[in-house]
């Protein structure tokens, strides 16, 4: 018989989830929940597998659940799901402190990293990305080789980066933006596909490794989560994106453009049957956990504003289930 | 023994004397002999009344190559039979058929009938273990186990449950080693590896190991090849003693030895059994010209 909560899902939410799990376990009579880091999609796959002791009770996500995933849940009898938005994560573009701090725009990022870019010599056509150095992209940037270490296409962080930064950059070209309404697939293809000629380096999911690689190679930039920047301020520095640096405040108030929401989802059918789910939810949504000065912010979670916390906490208490996306 | 010491010795001396001068002709003579052997049929008295083991039409093949051709032979109860013949003529191969040791060579195939006390040795349903316990073997190349001397000898009795107590086992080991004439040399080092012995000592160890099980039939493939005359004498004495109760087939290259220890002698040539007769007869008045040629040290 299973007597502890089982949580799966995003590796980004994992550190936050485990803090809560641990404190919850130590402070109550319940066992500490088991938290697995499976990636958002992998988490949903298990979560939506069905109702029963062999299926997890909660799934963490670094993006919102997709309709297809929701449908799958429904098909497997997981009908009542509570969605909890817990805060934000900033995706930072950083380089070694030994190098010059970069001031980038999303457009620069798009031009530097997309597989196909608008023809530099004008016209509404797309060509294979010809840029070799940052200076080619934007004359105000230094003349160093474009070398960006980032997550692979299988990662949620990559998805978020592509959606927030690249899409933001490519939308600044009106003819591409026009695709958005006319040919959505085309739009995504242009904005989402990163170059594969070596300027963008898929570096795996280990953000610490990216930090270390940046340390060893001052010319390179890296893309990773905010918590790693927070913990490694002596080694790497964030670049400005559209004029703002990623900090708690800029991410929380939306001034920093590349940030994404973090969620977890709860299977209502398990509440009351698996011990401690309600209490765990209460702990997670308590002020001392996710509040402005709560222990989650220590770990790098960027808190929601007070009002949203209040409404969400209320909804969680009432176990309002997700109706539709 | 059938043949008196005196006579056999004289005979051998003669043989030795005649050997050297004829050597130069051997090569071609041997070829002639080989050709003759190919069409030879067994002469003499291959069959006996009180057969302990009997073989009928035994053919042995290594892959495509036939090594033994249609041998019919009986080995009598409590008899010592010697098998002689030029190197490579199939003596070991034939001997190994008798307790199915050839089973271990993948390419080796045995045809014909072999029986032990009327028991078909090559019955596919037969359990070879009791067979091999009854028909023991001393191999041509001494192959002691990489274990201590004691364990080497105690192994057979152990697996066949011949000793109940440690003391019984000690006794078996000691007697066997003594009978093989090795006891004096190894009694202080019974627990050192058998592979650290000299060539001759290893050979005697293998003999001791085999007789420790007291098999009914003992097959010995050149058991004295690495032994000095004294040790050889000791083994021959052992054979004489054993033959009172057991049946022994011995392959040897020493015709003196064959003459000394055996009751009957079988002469093989190129995989064929050429002649079987009382030892005395074989060494004095062989029936087949090839046999005569061989024991007198020439061919043809």
């Amino acid at each position: 018989a299973r007597d502890s909560i089982s949580i799966v899902g995003s590796s980004t939410v994992f550190p936050f989830s485990k803090v809560v799990a641990e404190r919850f376990g130590r402070a109550t009579k319940f066992k500490s929940p088991t938290v697995e880091s499976t990636g958002t999609g992998g988490g949903f796959k298990q979560f939506c597998g069905g109702v029963g002791v062999n299926f997890p009770d909660m799934s963490n996500a670094s993006r919102r659940i997709k309709q297809a995933e929701l449908d799958n849940c429904k098909a497997n009898g997981v009908t009542d799901i509570v969605e909890v938005l817990i805060g934000y994560d900033g995706i930072v573009i950083a380089n070694s402190v030994k190098a010059k701090q970069m001031k980038l725009s999303r457009k620069d990022l798009f031009l530097a990293l997309a597989k196909k870019v608008p023809n530099p010599s004008g016209g509404d056509t797309l060509v294979d990305n010809p840029y070799k150095t940052w200076k080619d992209v934007n004359p105000t940037l230094p003349a160093i080789k474009i070398e960006v270490l980032g997550p692979p296409p299988t990662s949620g962080t990559r998805d978020a980066f592509v959606e927030l930064a690249m899409e933001g950059g490519c939308s600044q070209f009106s003819f591409i933006k026009a695709y958005k309404s006319s040919d959505k697939n085309r739009f995504k293809e242009v904005c989402h596909i990163l170059r594969e000629d070596g300027a963008f380096i898929e570096a795996g999911e280990n953000d610490n490794l990216i930090v270390q690689k940046l340390n060893a190679n001052p010319n390179a930039l890296g893309i990773f989560g905010f918590s790693f920047l927070d913990q490694n301020a002596d080694k790497v520095q964030a670049s400005y994106v559209d004029g703002s640096l990623p900090t708690f405040d800029t991410i929380a108030d939306g001034a920093y453009p590349v940030s994404r929401p973090l969620y977890f989802y709860v299977k209502k059918a398990h509440i009351g049957l698996i011990p401690g789910i309600e209490q765990f939810l209460a702990e997670f949504t308590s002020e001392k956990a996710w509040g402005d000065e709560g222990y989650l912010s220590e770990k790098g979670l960027i808190p929601l504003d007070e009002d949203r916390r209040a409404t969400i906490a209320k909804r969680v208490k009432a176990l309002d289930s997700l109706k539709s996306l | 023994m059938d043949i008196s010491e005196e006579k056999s010795a004289t005979l051998i001396a003669e043989h030795d004397r005649t050997e050297a001068p004829k050597m130069t002709e051997n090569t071609t003579a041997k070829q002639v002999a080989d050709m003759k052997a190919e069409h030879a049929t067994t002469v003499g008295k291959p069959l006996v009344d009180n057969a302990k083991m009997s073989m009928r039409g035994v053919d042995v093949f290594y892959g495509d190559k036939q090594a033994v051709f249609g041998v019919d032979l009986d080995i009598g109860e409590n008899e010592v039979i010697a098998m002689i013949g030029p190197s490579g003529c199939g003596k070991s191969t034939f001997l190994r058929c008798l307790n199915r040791m050839n089973d271990t060579i993948e390419i080796c195939q045995v045809k014909g009938e072999i029986s032990l006390d009327g028991l078909n040795v090559y019955d596919p349903k037969l359990d070879v273990v009791p067979l091999r316990a009854r028909v023991g073997m001393v191999f041509q190349k001494p192959n002691p186990f990489p274990k201590s001397i004691y364990e080497n000898v105690a192994y057979g009795p152990k697996i066949h449950g011949l000793a109940r107590r440690r003391s019984e086992m000690d006794e078996i080991v000691e007697t066997s080693l003594q009978r093989a004439g090795l006891w004096e040399e190894v009694k202080d080092r019974l627990h050192q590896p058998g592979t650290g012995l000299s060539g001759g000592q290893q050979q005697r160890l293998c003999i001791a190991r085999t007789i420790a099980v007291s098999p009914e039939v003992i097959l010995m493939d050149e058991p004295c090849s690495a032994l000095d005359p004294i040790a050889t004498a000791k083994i021959e004495e052992l054979i004489a003693e054993l033959s009172q109760n057991f049946t022994i087939a011995i392959v040897t290259h020493s015709m003196q030895q064959a003459a000394r220890v055996s009751h009957r002698t079988a002469y093989f040539h190129l995989g064929r059994l050429i002649e079987v007769n009382n030892t005395k007869k074989v060494f004095t008045t062989p029936d087949h010209e090839l046999t005569e040629a061989y024991i007198t040290g020439r061919f043809g």
């Binding site: 402070a27 109550t28 297809a68 990662s155 898929e202 795996g204 490794l209 | -």
Partner: protein, 494 residues
Amino acid sequence: MQALERACFFDLNARPNRLEYIIPPRGFMNSWVLIVLMAALCATIFVAGRSRSLNVATGVGGTRYLNSLPFYYGMLSALWAILPALVLVTLWKIFDGQIIEHIVISELPDDVVFEDASQRGLMLNQIYNIMNGQLSADAAPAYLADSVARLQALKAHADLLVAVLVVMMMVGLGGFAWWRINPQLRARAQVENVFQLVLLGCSSLAILTTIGIVMSVLWESLRFFHAVPITDFLFGLEWSPQTAIRKDQVAGSSSFGAVPLFAGTLLIAGIAMLVAVPTGLMSAIYLSEYAHKKVRAIVKPLLEVLAGIPTVVYGFFAAITVAPFIRDTAVSMGLDNYMAVTSESALAAGLVMGVMIIPFISSLSDDVINAVPQSLRDGALGLGATRSEVIRQVVIPAALPGIVGGVLLAVSRAIGETMIVVMAAGLAAKLTANPLDSVTTVTVQIVTLLVGDQEFDSPKTLAAFALGLMLFIVTLALNYVALHVVRKYREQYE
């Protein structure tokens, strides 16, 4: 958090104790007791069988006249007793829970109905949790308290029941076997048949595993080939799963070409083998043929540690120390003018991986080299061969099958390794033979596709299965070749 819910954290043993049935003390007949009991019985029956055979033997004139050693009679009786009992216990352990649960569920009030099995499972879980004190019984419906008590009682009785059954069965069958003992009983042959059957069972496990693997990748692979033509997959020169990332997009035919992955695998595994085979083999030779015994006793286990260092460590080492060093060296030699030189390189990954698999070759080869009989070495040395000649021309050929086994294992490990490649060679699938460039391997793609953020039935995920299947087939073919090559060159000593 509400105060009421904060029961005491370290008092998990305080369990509700409202039981209506009389039950034996908990855990009385738990598995350990049963195991010890079975072992003891088995030993007793062995001894009984053995001594009966001795008794029987005295009747016929000593153990010589038994078909087998007394040991085998004992063994046979013990096998008769233990094997069926083991089967029974195993079956019981698999099914008893289900039977008991079924009883408990069926005794629930009629108005409790389940829509499906999972709800039933949850209800059971709840009952178990109440039983273990993990859930408070107060919040649950009243009838559950009865179920809890029933469950507890049933469990205890069931344990007792199985124990009694097992004992009876062991005594019965063991007794039967014991009774059957007579001098003609072919005890040894029967014991050996069991032995052989067990061995056969063990080796067929490998086949079952293979079948299992094929089954677990075949279905998904077929679905993948439904979406992507198999020829595109086999012969496509471009691997770029990002273009096929979305469900709404028709999988780009050009983006699932497995050729670069296989090329990358070949390149990295090749480099690794270039490092590992000579080093491993030479180490084995040095250790077994030249080095002092004491040196060997220390160095061999030390090298074996290399195989046990977690791959993350190698990964960091390759990515942070080796790869930048290689790049800097290449750049300082001016190689970057002629070819791509990146900070992620096949060379770095291959080199480090090579070091990791050294022990596979060194240790296994060392053992088989050591097993070559000294007389062979003597034969060659006596002819005046130098040691190296003896090794190269006599020892190695004689030890070849074992060495090849080690090499195969090493190749396998190189093909299967992910962490080092991800960290040091990157994830970009490039079709290149340039070791200074970044490449990726089949296994790495499988792992990233499987564990990444994914939709479960996009071609991207399914591609992992197809890759797995392909890899399986390719290595199978290579192994067939290896088998025949080895057969051809095998030299059997003695």
